[in-house]
């Protein structure tokens, strides 16, 4: 699954550790999501959406769509 997490984080000048703390996950998890090696669970995806005030589909896109 593709995502814009790195771009959104960079726009806010947050480090991976900052974002990890805000979401209550490890920095490793943020890195794995950004590099698209791990797809977050639905609750975590919703938490990310709430944090950036965006809908999930504005952050994540299914590979099949592209």
């Amino acid at each position: 699954m593709k995502n814009r997490l790195r771009v959104l984080r960079a726009e806010r000048n947050w480090s991976q550790a900052d974002l990890a703390n805000r979401l209550g996950v490890s920095r490793q998890t943020i890195n794995a999501i950004e590099t698209e090696k791990y797809d977050p669970s639905l609750p975590l995806a919703f938490a990310i959406g709430r944090l950036f005030e965006l809908h999930i589909e504005e952050i994540f896109s299914d590979d099949a769509e592209s």
């Binding site: 490793q28 791990y38 975590l44």
Partner: protein, 131 residues
């Protein structure tokens, strides 16, 4: 979750204390008890006594692991499955070879260290998949 999560610290502390208690009970039992003076039933019950400490330790371990985030739990689960699979393959193969070509008997005590070692060895490989 951060590494200073108090529940995680508490869980790992419980695990450590439980395992130390288990080890001490087993060592003390080995020194203090004379198996030949015990009936088989009493010997079996005494051998099972340290299990309470081990179960308490395991509960602590689970408490700590439940504080991990979803990716960390996934990595732990994958490492656990690899350890389980390798242990199954090695113990079954060795068991057959014991019967078929007379390899020396290996104590059941060897099984858990093998699981722990394969679990630890799997960690860098599994972590690398998500790095």
């Amino acid at each position: 979750m951060t590494h200073t999560n108090p529940d995680r610290t508490k869980g790992f502390r419980q695990f450590t204390i439980g395992m130390v208690a288990y080890t001490l009970i087993v060592i003390a039992g080995g020194f203090l008890l004379e198996p030949e003076t015990l009936t088989p039933l009493v010997a079996a019950l005494l051998a099972l006594l340290p299990i309470a400490a081990a179960l308490w330790a395991m509960a602590g371990w689970l408490k700590a692991v439940r504080t991990f985030d979803e990716l960390q739990q996934k990595i732990f689960a994958e490492c656990g499955l690899i350890a389980l699979g390798l242990t199954a393959v090695v113990t079954f193969t060795y068991g057959f070879l014991e019967v078929l070509i007379g390899l020396p008997k290996v104590s059941m005590f060897a099984v858990f260290p093998f699981i722990a070692a394969t679990f630890a060895l799997a960690q860098p490989f599994v972590r690398r998949r998500y790095a």
